[in-house]
């Protein structure tokens, strides 16, 4: 009997330790200028967050302590998540002769619904400080897409709606790779780095394509060669670049600038085969 008690106590202790230790907690006391500026364009729009939590398959149990019941408090993770979703849903121009891809592509990549882009997804937040986000395939139910504190805590450079939504694209694209049965490398779904021009530990190839090469809604297509293919970092860069200079006139300048800075830094640090596209001209404003 003593042994049973010991096993039970050990099991509880192990689970308790796993659930509470090592992780930092996201800073919930403020929002970045870019988050606040985008927020000011809607001032907290209930109809949207009542839609977006379903579109992104978010569940109260995961977001309870992150603003699920305080959805108009921009300092918390759930409101910041839907602020980024709002940017994806309404913010892009969809300019046939200038945008890399369209809203239909970016929505289908980030949102939960299963489609040609990926099997169904499920959005969670995490206090883990390992990464910006993660994609975890599951045996049963939707695959998990986690966004982490570096996308939420104000002092982090990526705590802005453009970078957060950019991460939806990046992680969502891992779902595309999985659905299509593509091997993009063994370092978290990337080629191990640093290698070539890539200075990070997880590296991709940039598969250059012209404007108009993909009709809007056709980003998922590939011919299985380097001529028609995308990597996660590439989809992220193209999205960020579209936010930077192919967004609607009302999208705040602070959000565009953040998108451009993230696109530019990612384009020179994450690709094996040299830099990706440069996003817009280098005029300061």
């Amino acid at each position: 009997m003593k042994r049973i008690h010991l096993i039970l106590a050990s099991a509880f202790l192990l689970l308790a330790v796993q659930s509470v230790s090592v992780y930092a907690v996201c800073n919930q006391s403020s929002a970045s200028t870019a988050d606040t500026n985008l927020w000011n364009t809607h001032g907290c729009w209930q109809a949207f967050f009542l839609w977006s939590y379903k579109a992104y398959d978010q569940r109260s149990g995961d977001w309870n302590s992150r603003g699920w019941n305080d959805a108009c408090n921009v300092n918390l993770e759930f409101p910041k998540h839907w602020n980024a979703a709002y940017l994806v849903t309404y913010g892009l121009l969809d300019n046939n002769s200038q945008s890399f891809h369209g809203t239909a592509d970016y929505r289908a990549t980030g949102e939960a619904a299963g489609s040609n882009f990926h099997s169904s997804l499920y959005h969670l937040a995490s206090d883990d400080s390992c990464c910006f986000g993660s994609f975890t395939p599951t045996v049963f139910g939707p695959n998990e897409l986690r966004t982490m504190c570096l996308l939420y805590s104000t002092s982090s450079a990526n705590a802005n709606p453009a970078s957060r939504a950019g991460d939806f694209m990046h992680e969502g694209w891992h779902g595309w790779l999985r659905k299509g049965n593509w091997n993009n490398g063994s370092c978290g779904g990337h080629r191990c780095g640093p290698t070539g021009s890539c200075t990070a530990s997880g590296c991709d190839y940039f598969y250059f394509h012209g404007i108009g090469a993909y009709a809007f809604g056709a980003l998922w297509q590939t011919d299985g060669t380097a001529n028609r293919f995308h990597s996660p970092n590439q989809v992220q860069v193209e999205f960020l670049c579209d936010v930077a200079d192919q967004s609607k006139g009302w999208v705040p300048n602070s959000v565009r600038l953040a998108g451009k800075a993230d696109a530019d830094q990612r384009a020179v640090a994450r690709f094996i085969n040299g830099p990706g596209y440069k996003c817009g001209d280098p005029r300061p404003w």
């Binding site: 200028t33 000011n40 019941n69 600038l257 800075a261 530019d264 020179v268 005029r283 404003w285």
Partner: protein, 292 residues
Amino acid sequence: MQPRITTKRLALFAAFLAVAGIFIGAGITVRSQKEDPSSQAPTGPAPSRVLATKDRKIPVIATGGTDVKATVLRFIDFAGNAGGDQKEEIRRSLEGLRQNSAAIEVMCEEAFSAQRSDHSRALLILSLLGEARSADGAKCLARFMKLPFPKTGTTVDGEIVEQTALGTLQAKAIDGLAYLRGKETNAIVLDAIKSHPSIIVRAEAIEAYLWNNRDNEADARRAVSGVVRRGEEIYLDRVRRDTGESAQSFNQKLEAFLRKHPEAVGAKPEPDKDTQRPKDERPGRLPAPPKF
């Protein structure tokens, strides 16, 4: 040797199953919760109504006295909130700021103060300072370039995030310095191409130098070629999508780039041989979002 099944072992196994059951059950319960999110604060109307009443008047910045700081802060807030459709108006306002040393000084202080606490605010202010094209602004941006580049910090995906954060801000400072096209500021830009520890800054410095001196392209390329690091020459030919550029023009540039740099073509994608393709599920329908 076959293990003997004793009552004690069965009890141990049952206890293990019970504990596992509790935790799996709890997990399923949490995931299956479908309660709607709610708000403690009043919610707003549709954005189209919010935007229709937005104040589009650019705040005037005082040229002296105690109002300078307050008016500069108002201007910064306005510029960040304003949409891209007011970009040109804000550029014109910044022209009027060129001789306003007091205002530039406030902006400079604000940029330094936001550097660690609010990256997007620091980025915004550095952009405004650069666009103002003032001598005082140049001094501030040059000082910003001297901020020590961190050697240690939080490592994520093999990069130190503090380095990336400062790198993107210093890249923005470089944009402002290159935009001035002065002898001293050009020297800072060329020095960054040669010796800045971050590729983010070196790449931006190459781009900014070439773009700002595009009226004398051959000389500009010669100047950059003289300082660029070995292995980074490809940055001189990088494909840029200019704002407002047509698809035809962009695509021609891209073709020329790939002809000159066949090494920039990505490797053939590899099918995953080890894992089974996940079973195809019936595509879900993307729900329609509410009307903007």
